[in-house]
């Protein structure tokens, strides 16, 4: 008999893969073979553990020891110490940032303790390329029960009662969407939106890479509920690992008979096809996505008619995003009440966020709706690095807004965030500290939406460009106070008149920063000054004569020859030549160069 005494899990999510986790995996296999233990230790590649900041991550069971920032060179030590001798390699264990305590069990870290994993429950636990592991954690049980024991109406009913709302951004009730599409029609479609495009958001990728079968199972359940027999997954071409795992999963599901004809002997047939995007942000909008699957330029269509009536190939269609799908099988198995018991009155369940930016624990977190921003930043995120102050959190990417520090106790749910001018969105959560210029952030997102506007409707095509031009002038010190009012007015026009959500939400970053950080805009406009020291046109670099030792390092490195001075004498920056690249400041060993 083949006895496996230990499991080594290596994260093969995109974050860790780009940090050589493939090589680490291979080195483990070689090392175990060399030690003659290839049969007693099982190697498993998993999806994202969610703690990308500390990647590549390797977990060794049965102890559950989590090794972080593993390099290929650490492999032989882990094998010879932990696997052969049973001694955990302390130096590679995760250490909590605010204590010296070394944590051996990953579920005991503060980062995981506060989380409730529903959509991510299998990520980092099972091997995503092995359907048996998915089955072992109750995979496809929900589909079996739905097909053999429930009517389509009962399925829609349970989803409606659970209170699940779309996790892609808009937060539309999922059960209601399915109900609209359930009216009789000969041909219908089920689509999965895996065209995750917000900068700084990667939760859908993690689900696809870590638990691809959950999406297939959920889509098949939806197919039964509305009477569709064909599904499409539209996934970004930029996610090669996710595409690869989905292809494997679809093949395995067909072999096992979870996709295809006569599933569970009920006569119900359903199949899923994969379609790849080709690099257009707007295709994450539901009607644009469908236009793209049809083989056209990915431009949105006016609504109504809504996709539930006339969607893909002009047939009734439901489209949900990856994270929404990942909740469905659990709701079927545990019941609507279980799901509805998590979260707030109107926002049920959990939400996955990508915690990035100026935060100690960068990574993927799944929290019950209604958790406060403070809990996420201070407890799960471990606070702001380098002793800096929390300034704002940006949620919802280019469609969202900025939440100032004064509102840090806001619960994170659809209603609370909407009330303060932001959105839950797809789940980007970018933390900013005092070194971040809010005008610059708004400009960054405007440039993004301007570049990604498809050009079909003029409010978005021209509006985003005009807004970008105005905000650029402000960051260059050429703004006026009237301009702020003009921007606000233009923003409201865009919100009302753009064809799709891309244009309607593009003003959000501008409006929310204007609302909460108007003083920063005024500093740029009136004082011609950038308080955070980011907008280069408004900065001046100066040398503090008291600190300058005359080492000449700055002068030698200045790309513009703007610094002059003799050895051992105080140097001076010629402001007319200075290009504000900051090279002098990063080179100075005496902190003598100041940015104003």
């Amino acid at each position: 008999m083949n006895i496996v005494r230990a499991h080594i899990l290596v994260c093969r999510g995109t974050g860790c893969s780009s940090a050589h986790s493939e090589e680490i995996f291979k080195r483990f296999e070689e090392e175990l073979k060399a030690q003659g233990m290839a049969d007693e230790v099982k190697m498993i590649q998993t999806g994202c553990f969610g703690l990308c900041e500390l990647g590549p991550i390797v977990v060794v069971y049965p102890e559950g020891a989590m090794y972080t920032r593993v390099t290929p060179d650490d492999v032989s030590e882990i094998v010879s110490e932990h696997i052969v001798k049973g001694r955990i390699v302390q130096r590679l264990l995760h250490t909590e940032k605010d204590s010296a305590e070394v944590v051996a069990d990953l579920s005991k870290t503060k980062f995981y303790e506060k989380q409730t994993r529903v959509a991510l429950r299998n990520c980092g636990v099972i091997n995503p390329e092995n359907i048996d592991e998915y089955i072992a954690v109750d995979g496809y049980e929900a589909l079996g029960r739905v097909l053999t024991e429930m009517t389509p109406e009962e399925v829609i009913d349970i989803i409606t009662k659970s209170g699940l709302r779309g996790r892609g951004g808009a937060g539309f009730p999922t059960g209601l969407k399915w109900k609209f599409a359930s009216a009789p029609a000969p041909v219908k479609y089920v689509c999965c939106n895996a065209d995750e495009g917000d900068p700084g958001a990667f939760m859908d990728r993690s689900v696809l890479e870590g638990d691809p079968h959950v999406v297939l199972e959920a889509m098949t359940i939806a197919g039964y509920a509305i009477g569709a027999h064909q599904g499409y997954i539209y996934v970004r071409a930029e996610y090669p690992i996710a595409i690869h795992r989905l292809q494997i999963a679809i093949k395995q599901a067909r072999e096992y008979g979870f996709l295809g004809d006569d599933i569970f002997g009920t006569g119900f047939s359903f199949d899923i096809e994969l379609r790849l995007g080709s690099g257009a942000f707007v295709c994450g909008e539901e009607t644009a996505l469908m236009t793209s699957i049809e083989g056209n330029r990915g431009e949105p269509r006016p609504r109504p008619p809504f996709p539930a009536v006339k969607g893909l190939f002009e047939k009734p269609t439901i489209l949900n995003n990856v994270e929404t799908w990942a909740n469905i099988p659990r709701i079927i198995l545990n019941g609507a009440d279980w799901f509805a018991s998590m979260g707030t009155e109107k926002s049920k369940g959990t939400k996955v966020f990508c915690l990035v930016g100026k935060i100690n624990n960068t990574g993927l977190v799944e929290i019950p709706m209604g958790t406060t921003l403070r809990e996420v930043v201070e407890e799960i995120g471990g606070g702001i690095p380098n002793g800096k102050k929390f300034k704002a959190a940006q949620t919802g990417g280019p469609s969202g807004g900025c939440i100032p520090a004064s509102l840090i106790d806001t619960p994170i749910d659809y209603e609370s965030l909407a009330a303060i001018g932001s959105i839950v969105g797809s789940g980007g959560l970018i933390i900013m500290d005092e070194d971040t210029c809010m005008v610059d952030i708004a400009k960054f997102f405007l440039q993004f939406t301007m570049d990604e506007s498809c050009g079909k409707c003029s409010p978005c095509r021209i509006g985003t460009k005009r807004l970008y031009e105005m905000i650029t002038k402000i960051t260059e010190g050429e703004g006026t106070l009237e301009m702020l009012d003009e921007m606000e007015e233009l923003c409201h026009h865009l919100q009302k008149n753009a064809l799709c959500a891309l244009g309607q939400t593009a003003p959000n970053p501008v409006l929310s920063t204007l609302k909460y950080f108007r003083d920063e805009y005024i500093a740029h406009v009136v004082d011609k000054r950038c308080p955070a020291g980011v907008c280069t046109k408004l900065l001046t670099y100066e040398i503090d004569p008291a600190k300058c030792k005359g080492c000449t390092l700055c002068a030698r490195n200045c790309p513009a020859d703007a610094i002059s001075g003799k050895v051992k004498e105080v140097h001076v920056i010629d402001k007319s030549k200075c290009i504000k690249c900051g090279v002098c400041m990063s080179n100075c060993k005496f902190d003598a160069i100041v940015k104003k």
Partner: protein
């Protein structure tokens, strides 16, 4: 930005064309086949020149202008092949003031191509990039990712001549 039309003569082989026709035949009855066909055609040729688009248009029975419209809509479809040597001149602020414009101008003269273009022999392609983050070396250009810094226009000959010589 408008995609520059290629000046490279089309050099598709019979083998590539056979693969493309096979691909088209396999997708003929698929709904919404254009995107998958374009994606895989780009894998075959490395880019999507008008000649390839014409074959696809005829093969799938879709008007050429519609094919062209789709190709130019999505960022990942390319109308140009990349040269064997891909040149990029940094147009970040530091490089710009230190004379990157002059370097770029010299390359344009020497190779006879504009940014976004490729030489007819497929040897060099040229791009302008945003700041590469090596301002202390300004102005810089990269050749297949390798950085050359503190350039003056004459350096262009020093860098490119050996490559031209090596490739006869």
């Amino acid at each position: 930005m408008a995609k520059k039309k290629t000046v490279v003569p089309f050099r598709g082989t019979a083998e590539q064309e056979a693969k493309l026709r096979e691909l088209i035949a396999a997708h003929k009855d698929m709904r919404g086949a254009l995107m998958p066909v374009l994606q895989q055609a780009q894998d075959i040729y490395g880019y999507l020149p008008i000649e390839v688009q014409k074959i696809i248009a005829e093969g799938l029975g879709i008007p050429l202008e519609q094919v062209y419209g789709v190709v130019t809509f999505y960022a990942q479809f390319s109308l140009n092949p990349k040269g064997k040597y891909s040149l990029a001149v940094c147009m970040g602020t530091a490089c710009y003031v230190k004379g990157a414009g002059g370097v770029l101008e010299r390359i344009k003269q020497k190779l006879g191509i504009e940014p976004g273009g490729v030489t007819p022999d497929g040897m060099f392609s040229l791009e302008e990039t945003r700041c590469l983050g090596c301002c202390a070396l300004a102005p810089v250009m990269t050749v297949n990712g390798e950085v050359h810094g503190r350039l003056v226009p004459d350096d262009v000959d020093r860098i490119l001549d050996p490559i031209i010589k090596d490739n006869g």
